[in-house]
């Protein structure tokens, strides 16, 4: 017994040591490759913090631009809600054909899964730059770039949800002789609606952040405004943009948390 205990503790020690040393090795390798110096990072931190506190605060000029910032912020918020709503509908229709539960045709099934994987894995920056060539500095550039990545992400999640949640009731409906539409409307939608909405709410939050990034690349929305002030070194106004984004994201997060509690 005593010997067993010793080996257990020894094994645990060895396991901890292996994990710790491999993380350390990864850290050292990564720092060498990226030329990251921990000392620089640590040194930069207090400097950056004091810079944020002193310079990165809204000044008087920033507040005169507040209406303009709110205008762009509203545009970005509307964009991410619209993108997510449409992507939810399209992704749901696609996921019906991608799920194994509904026994759609094997080739169709694979095709949907491949399409979803493709759209999910191509980075949204690539979509943004690609669409810039044809759509230019237009809100539709951001819309489509966000739509493609949201669609890919949601289709995969919906397929998983349908396979997980609805298999029992789909089988039951199938046994009663229900047709495809009846199975979808009476079985799949009622059993997955909560999960679908939770995913959609999560994607709205994510898309507001992504919209900022895409805005920087495609010169639209709130991202463009931040980038413009940032490059003109007007940090007061840039900080007000950041504060507005934070407030918006937190409001949306709170609303969706409340909704999730009511729904589930």
């Amino acid at each position: 017994m005593v010997k067993d205990k010793q080996t257990i503790f020894q094994k645990r020690k060895i396991a901890y040591f292996t994990v710790f040393s491999s993380i350390l090795a990864l850290y050292i390798l990564s720092s060498i490759v990226t030329e990251f110096k921990l000392t620089d990072g640590v040194m930069a931190f207090p400097e950056a913090a004091s810079w944020i506190v002193h310079k990165f605060v809204p000044d008087a000029k920033a507040f005169t631009r507040f209406p303009k910032i709110m205008d762009r912020l509203l545009e970005t918020a509307l964009l991410s809600v619209a993108v997510t709503s449409i992507a939810t509908v399209v992704a749901f229709i696609f996921s019906l054909f991608g799920s194994r539960t509904l026994k759609s045709h094997g080739i169709l099934n694979q095709a949907v899964r491949m399409t979803a994987a493709f759209f999910r894995n191509v980075p949204d920056v690539v979509w943004a730059m690609l669409l810039m060539f044809s759509f230019g500095q237009n809100i539709l550039t951001g819309f489509l770039a966000l739509f493609f990545s949201t669609f890919g992400m949601l289709t995969r999640s919906f397929i998983e949800t349908i396979d997980e949640v609805s298999s029992a009731c789909v089988e039951a409906l199938d046994a009663t002789g229900a047709n495809f539409a009846q199975i979808v409307f009476q079985g799949v939608i009622p059993s997955t609606v909560t999960a679908l909405i939770t995913w959609a709410l999560y994607m709205i939050e994510t898309n507001i952040r992504s919209a900022t990034l895409i805005g920087i690349l495609t010169a639209t929305g709130i991202g463009y405004l931040f980038d413009m002030y940032y490059k003109r070194l007007e940090f007061g106004s840039a900080s007000l943009v950041v504060i507005c984004i934070v407030v918006l994201v937190i409001i949306i997060e709170n609303i969706s948390n409340k909704l999730r509690k009511v729904i589930s």
């Binding site: 990864l26 850290y27 390798l29 990564s30 490759v33 990226t34 030329e35 990251f36 110096k37 620089d40 990072g41 930069a44 931190f45 400097e47 950056a48 810079w51 509307l78 964009l79 809600v81 619209a82 709503s85 449409i86 994987a117 894995n121 191509v122 980075p123 949204d124 920056v125 690539v126 730059m129 690609l130 669409l131 810039m132 060539f133 044809s134 759509f135 230019g136 500095q137 237009n138 809100i139 539709l140 489509l144 609606v193 909405i197 900022t212 990034l213 920087i216 690349l217 931040f226 940090f235 950041v242 984004i245 934070v246 994201v249 937190i250 997060e253 909704l259 009511v262 729904i263 589930s264």
Partner: protein
Amino acid sequence: MSEVVIKYENAAGKQNNTTCQDSITCNLEKNIFGKIRIAAHSKSNLAIKILIISLIAISTIAFLTFDYKEINFAEAIMATLHNVKTVFLEPALRRDTVMGVAYQLFVTFCLGMLATIFGALFALICSLFCAKNISHPAAATVIKSFVAVVRAVPTVLWVLIFAVSAGLGSVAAVIGLTFHSFAYLTKVYAESIEEIGAGTIEALRANGANFWQIVCQAVIPATLSYIVAWTFMRFEINFANAVAVGAAAGAGGIGYNLYMAGSMYFDLHEMGFLTYVVVIAVIILEVISTKIKTIVR
């Protein structure tokens, strides 16, 4: 003849009387189309309905108020299709060697790795003081709100903010990526710690275990599999973010190459090649992460 009176109150479930008399009259609730209502009145159904209606309304408002700048939609779509064909069907590498691209991919990988290591380390410590069941509720609330604010700022903005004092480069990129990872991981770690059974912690407390003993003997063993799974998921996100940050903030790695190919040289063939490299890398990471999740569980 017999009369059937059905009093049907389904949501509250108080009454369900059936009386048989001479003629048949049904008092079933009907909707505006004259169909018998079969779903229960409930707060959650109402919430779902309101939410769906408001999402449709907001989307409609969005499309009506967008400034489309008189774009020729058909022409733009045709041009997009042509570009998509060039990017995805005719990828080619002209300005760089395969080894060079592989090295840049490795740089992005390492940026994501560093941000994940730092983020996970700080998040692990912070989440212990942020989980309501083992920490003081006031401390938990304060840390949770702080973390929510940090999380609300998009990663690329963190990188740009730190780039002002640290200069554009790996330091700003790593710190910026770390901030968002830290905030995200603190939240998910704390949530998995809060799911530990209250009995385990109570038993240890009753034995006189102190905070660190509870952490080492109950919290970490119980949550380890979740922590590993979440950390790997975050690593995947960090890799994608490192690509995005490289493109939008010029922070290096393959994202920067993508940005140069797409926005400076307008070389769609090169962009296609780089995109495929990123996509393959992401798929490999996904496969590894799924394997690790199954091993840990």
